[in-house]
Amino acid sequence: MPNVFQKHSVEMRLSLVLLLIVVGLSIKTDTFMTLGNITSLLNNNAVNLIWAVGLLVVLVAGGIDISFAVAASVVQYLSAQVFVGLGGGNWVVGFIVAAGFGVGLGLINALLIHGFQVISIVITIATFNAFFGLLMFFTKGRNIYNLPDWWTDRIFIFERQATDGTWSELNLSVAVMIACVLATWALIRLTTLGRQLYAFGDNPEGARRAGVNIWQMQIVAFCWCGMMAGIGGLMQVNIAQEVVPNALYGRELDVLAAVVLGGARLGGGRGTVVGCILGVMFVAITQNGLNLLGISPFAFQMIIGATILFAISSSNLKFGRSGKARLKESAT
């Protein structure tokens, strides 16, 4: 048990803080611990969590991806065109197309990073600008409202009417989110590929000498992130009912903050799916709680920023800036 604490100290501490917040909110408000509030929390954060687990894989492999949110917008547009071309389509086609485009965009990042030996932040900032600029240029910033019915129809996987007549429901995106979270967990925890991703992220040169295929690692990490970006984009349209080219611009940094808060190390080799969920839920529940406590919405972001800053300072997170510090950490 102490070993679990040591190995996952960030996750442990974060879950404790989260528990305190949840208990506090349950006592302070009578609206927090209701089925309606919990389901809407899940509905509202499903897409963020899908992106978060995608980004987690890249972070574990020692990279960073700035481009995934605008990549999701690009996928939305391309998919919309394909669906028009196909004369409709359905959810199965939708998932294949969106995931396919996402993987394709991820592959572009992986090819550039590996092929020309450039660090991922440089390439993904370049592709971020390229994707977003081209998207805005070709769409002229216009929204698409005319989408196939299957894409925008609400599908509920769970619904219940409370005694006072209010409905609480979970929509399809939550089911997709659960599938994505489980798939990512299986990838990084159960497969050899996953173990290699951690090894590669922790020490690329060491992993290479141990026989890990570096090229394969970059492809797996960035294509997985791209696929999650695509699927997240598909689900975001299902929720928003429209495609807006710049709607997701800027979301990458919020997701990044949540994932890193959940213990994924910038620099690679460390990060868990549980931490990812905790990080996203921490931000979501803080915001939800402020809302329920009746605090001005203008103050939300300020308080969340201060909370993250405080969380970093109080948790004494050691990200390990050099290989030496990392070696020490892995030796314990």
Binding site: L112, F137, L266, F298
Partner: protein, 330 residues
């Protein structure tokens, strides 16, 4: 030491290739449109570039030290708000020059304080600069929205117009500010004790620590200075737009990182200099203005900036391979 090595040491090895790129960009645009090589175009370029330039200088120090400062835009906005607040307190458009100076001092102080706080968290808690500055970004954005309720603050005295739109011996005032800041940055990084520490921390923070450099204090200073130049950018922005709004210049955040990388700054820190970054900025501005002249919109320039960075990275890779082959051959 050959002449080439000496020039490389003085102005950075990336300078000559970047100057070549600059010439190519100028040549192509002047062939495509007669409007490019005109005083009017250069004038508007010189007015547009400084804000991005000042913000890029703010990004430069943190990147050289192996970090990143993602809060720069909102540091600039909040500093601008501090100035606006003082000006409004002293009568808005009636405010005297003293109020402006007081406001500017408060703005610089605000920038420095927010920067120093980030530097302290990075230095004393060992947290990653990306996470710290992200949290600061979210906090400052929220603070700004809380204070302004998302609206513009305008109604500044007329003399601020000079700062944003005036010229001195036909050089735009914002450009003069940028040039002075760039020279100051060059001297700070290459000639001062602080600059030396920045490079050493960027190369290897532990070695720097064991060599007796006060790495923690230097980190605080790096981010404080970054915040101060953000404040200057915020003041220039207030003068240029004649208003302050939280979110002004949001789109420039990642462009400043792009400019640094284009200018050959090592993403891991420790290597790079101001001069090639300044040339990279001119290239970015020339691309944007040139495309604008031939009727393309700002979004196409954004895409071209991204593609240009990829192209430069590919060419650097080709160059590296070629040099390695040469070395291997002899």
């Amino acid at each position: 030491m050959s002449l080439r090595d000496r020039t490389n040491a003085a102005i950075g090895a990336e300078t000559l290739p970047l100057l070549t790129f600059l010439c190519v960009v100028f040549l192509v645009f002047s062939l495509v449109t007669p409007l490019f090589l005109t005083g009017a175009n250069f004038g508007s370029m010189a007015f547009q570039m400084p804000v991005l330039g000042l913000l890029t200088l703010a990004m430069l120090g943190p990147i050289l030290s192996g970090g990143l400062n993602l809060a720069i835009i909102y540091q600039a906005n909040i500093s601008g708000l501090a100035l606006a607040w003082v000006l409004i307190e002293f009568g808005g458009s009636e405010a005297g020059i003293g109020a402006f100076l007081l406001g500017s001092a408060l703005a610089v102080l605000t920038g420095a304080a927010s920067g120093a706080l980030m530097g302290a968290v990075v230095a004393y808690f060992g947290a990653h600069p990306i996470l710290v500055s992200l949290a600061m970004m979210i906090f400052l954005r929220g603070l700004g929205e809380f204070l302004t309720r998302g609206s513009d603050i305008s109604g500044f005295p007329d003399y601020m117009n000079v700062l944003g739109h005036g010229s001195f011996v036909s050089i735009p005032v914002p450009m003069i500010i940028f040039i002075l800041a760039a020279i100051l940055w060059h001297i700070m990084l290459k000639r001062s004790r602080h600059g030396f520490s920045v490079y050493m921390i960027g190369s290897n923070i532990e070695a720097a620590e064991y060599s007796g450099l006060h790495t923690k204090r230097t980190l605080v200073t790096i981010y404080a200075i970054s915040g101060m130049i953000c404040a200057i950018a915020g003041i220039v922005m207030a003068a240029r737009f004649n208003s302050v709004r939280v979110g002004h210049g949001e789109a420039l955040l990642l462009v400043t990182v792009l400019a640094c990388f284009l200018g050959g700054i090592d993403p891991f820190g420790g290597f790079g200099s101001v001069f090639p970054v300044a040339i990279a900025l001119i290239i970015l501005q020339a691309l944007s203005s040139g495309l604008n002249l031939i009727g393309a919109n700002q979004h196409l320039s954004t895409a071209v900036w991204g593609l240009f960075l990829i192209a430069v990275m590919v060419l650097r890779w080709v160059g590296m391979r070629w040099r390695n082959k040469q070395l291997g051959g002899t």
